[in-house]
Amino acid sequence: MFEAILLKCIQSLRGERSISGIFHLIQGKRSSQTLQDAKIYNIDLFFATAPSIKKEQVEEAVVRMAAKGWVYINEEKIPVIREEGHQVLNNSTIETRHYLNGMTLHKHVNVFEKRLRLLIQTITRTNLKDFSFIPIEDDIETQRWVKYIYRNCSAEEMITNLHNELYTLLLAIDKLEAELFTARITGGRVTGRTKAQLASRYDLSKEDVDLYVRHTFYYLLQSTLNAPQSYKALFMCAEGLEGSNLITASAKQTHHLLTGGYTLEQICNRRRLKISTIQDHIVEAALVVPDFDISTFVSADHQAEIAQALNLVNSNKLRELYEAMEKRFDYFQLRLVKARLNYGDKEVGSYVSRTTS
């Protein structure tokens, strides 16, 4: 997965950004350069997906991929993808189906992950009458949150519910990811495995172990937010993260203006932003705001039509959909409908490679 993400970045950056640029992106550096790159090159889904990565790890991986013939390093020391690389990428989940959505969700996933880890440990250890366990998360905020939940909810009930919800959700994903995820969790009499242990056990790189597990947390969070009623216990861990909180501050502002009756053009003028940026914001909102209405952009009839075509095309590539619909709708409209469809869909929680071209 790590290499596929790097390939994806290398491909999307088209030889225009150095390894440092890629490193900053996946590591999640909050500089305007990095944030812009992520948007412009359409790789914002991968922003901050490997927060603990070191630059050397990226460099070494690029060298490895060059040795395998997937990429080459040009005169400016910038990695460029080769045909073999394209093929590897096309066959990877990064192109087919994944739930990473870093730019929008990385902070929330982070909070969600910490809460879930500590909550599981707390409710199961205390159930065993062990009150002296070493908390798996030393983050004070998280500890406060768990204490609060622990005091106000029935632990017994939470244990059963969390187990059942996780079981259901993990059943629907790759077995490897379900295994890695459960192996990393601490609870009951079971202590989570370290990254190094899992890397040995499954013959993966440490980077991959990290990414697979994080990916599962993305999946869990989005599935939960899309169907809070079905995943009540998990939804608690997403408390305070839901709804418009999920989108970036900038998107929030756009959404605010939109509900205030402003048109797309008016918002562009007012905010002095490019129309494509505003469109991004609207797609973000469509994905996460429960009662978001997109019919001002695509009529209900057209929504139905696009949804139908989407089923037929059976591809996540927008361009194919675009062609299939004889270019009658623009990419923005297609993305909106897709986003809306994904909202409330239990299984597909994220919009994937929205403009792969």
Binding site: S132, F133, I136, Y167, L170, T191
Partner: protein
């Protein structure tokens, strides 16, 4: 206070029915406000000697402890026992958190501190407002230059004690030779401390040393030993990469649960390894000395040294992790001719060389004030401990006070003096190192020899004695079924175990 009362309190606060050797004697003296020097073996329960008095006395007990994880662990365990009025202050705390603790300091009975944070003037000021009636120095050998782990900040403790109104002092250590014990008293300015010195040998431990021609043989020897029977085992290394490499090799080739642990790992993974080990979910931990002090697991049966440390005292600390439940355990040191240079290289990194000192004086000539410690390291190309050494000695001779360079004449004399100190330290470290080597090559009872710098006699061993006397690690009797080896057939099963959805196994 009567003996019965003390027993009752022990039971009430800690749930123990008996005092262990030395505890009651030390506690009685502490309660009579005497200054006490307590030397007790590793794992014998030194912490109790100040924890119980802290709960029985009015006022505050201050404990200086060199390791943050050690403090945090003890605080956590006390809280579990229902002792809420305990806290730890260290320099790694978040600012907000530290401020909160500082402001409620009078509410605590027992306060753990790192020696570094005692240098913080705000902390010191707050402490002075309290009524401190016991000042504890854990791992007190750190006070002595002749202790195996000299920490310059420990030397400033005696000033602090004075400023706190000269409360009674309790100094504790498991690895202090008679000369170090003497030095502790001198440095603390308490020549009349009541000594409670107990034999520090471990009657439940046997010793074995094996010299190998080829470094490659080490791993084979380890495999043979481990394949005998799984049991909680620690393997010590002097380098992180070696620990990782051997862990991987053992994991791949043996049917045992192996992990590595060192200071370069992410926090959460360090915690997980420690917890897995404590929970008996691991058989073997390959570690550096970063995993050691503070590990209080009762049933560690084997300590193997893949690399041996630079001195006997460190060795005793490291083997002190085993057999804390009092049952038989064994130590094995594997060495080859190559290892004999390793500790010396480490000493070199630790101490400044003559040319380093010359560089420092040259810089002093052209500057008035010191920079921050980090900048000094950077500018002068010194390691942490090298710079600490120089700073400490120049501070002592008055060349620097706070961050000012005070003296600029008489360089020659001062320089010569520093070089003398340096030479002394080198000689000392080397003699310690030789002592270690001599023990490895000793042809006689290893138990007697190991403890001879500390005491004239050893107690008779409960299980095996040593290879010279005919005991080997492979003969160690390990009670069966001590380790549960839960394995999960699928992620579903593991998930059920995490969430206690299995029918309970009793």
């Amino acid at each position: 206070m009567s003996r019965e009362q003390l027993h009752e309190d022990l039971k009430r606060y800690f749930g123990y029915s008996e005092f262990r050797q030395g505890q009651q004697e030390i506690i009685e003296d502490v309660l009579e406000a005497k200054d006490v020097l307590g030397i007790l073996p590793t794992g014998s329960g030194k912490s109790l000697c100040f924890q119980l008095p802290a709960l029985l006395q009015s006022g505050v007990t201050v404990v200086v402890s060199p390791l943050i994880s050690l403090m945090v662990d003890q605080v956590r365990q006390l809280k579990v026992k229902g002792v809420k009025s305990v806290t730890a202050l260290n320099s790694f705390m978040e600012v907000k958190e530290r401020a909160a603790v500082l402001n409620s300091l009078p509410n605590y009975r027992l306060i753990y501190l790192s020696p570094e944070i005692l240098q913080n003037s705000r902390v010191a000021a707050k402490l002075k407002e309290l009524h401190v009636n016991l000042f504890v120095i854990d791992e007190a050998h750190c006070i002595s230059q002749w202790g195996h782990e000299f920490r310059t900040d420990y030397l400033k403790l005696n000033e602090m004690i004075k400023e706190l109104g000269d409360p009674p002092v309790l100094a504790l250590s498991a690895t202090a030779t008679p000369e170090v014990q003497q030095d502790i008293k001198i440095q603390l300015n308490r020549p009349h401390m009541v000594p409670h010195i107990y034999k520090m040998d471990k009657p439940n431990m046997s010793f074995e040393v094996e010299y190998l021609e080829d470094p490659g043989e080490k791993i084979e020897r380890i495999k043979t030993i481990l394949s005998n029977q799984p049991a909680p085992t620690m393997i010590y290394f002097s380098s992180r990469s070696a620990a990782e490499k051997v862990a991987e090799e053992l994991w791949l080739t043996m049917d045992q649960r192996v992990a590595f642990y060192h200071g370069g790992m992410e926090n959460i993974d360090r915690l997980l390894v420690q917890q897995q080990f404590m929970n008996d979910e691991l058989d073997v931990v390959c570690c550096t000395s970063a995993f050691g002090m503070g590990v209080d697991k009762p049933n560690i049966r084997r300590i193997i040294h893949y690399h041996f440390p630079g001195q006997i005292e460190s060795f005793i600390q490291e083997i002190g992790r085993a057999g804390r439940d009092g049952k038989p355990c064994a130590s094995l040191v594997l060495h080859t001719h190559r290892d004999h240079y390793l500790p010396q290289l480490l000493i070199e990194k630790e101490l400044p060389k003559n040319e380093d000192a010359a560089r420092v004086f040259h810089w002093f000539d052209r500057n008035e004030r010191l920079l921050s410690d980090e900048e000094m390291l950077e500018t002068l190309q010194l390691s942490d401990s090298q710079w600490n050494f120089i700073k400490f000695h120049l501070g002592k001779s008055g060349v620097i006070t706070r961050n000012n360079i005070e003296i600029k004449e008489n360089w020659k004399v001062i320089q010569a003096e520093l070089l003398n100190r340096l030479q002394e330290r080198w000689n000392y470290k080397n003699s310690k190192y030789k002592q270690m080597i001599n023990w490895l090559f000793y042809d006689g009872c290893r138990r007697k020899m190991l403890y001879s710098p500390f005491q004239s006699e050893v107690r008779s061993p409960q299980a095996g004695c040593c290879d010279y006397c005919g005991s080997f690690m492979k003969d160690l009797h390990i009670p069966q079924k001590e380790v549960s080896r839960a394995q999960y057939s699928s992620w579903e099963a593991r998930l059920r175990a995490i969430f206690l959805q299995e029918p309970s196994d009793g």
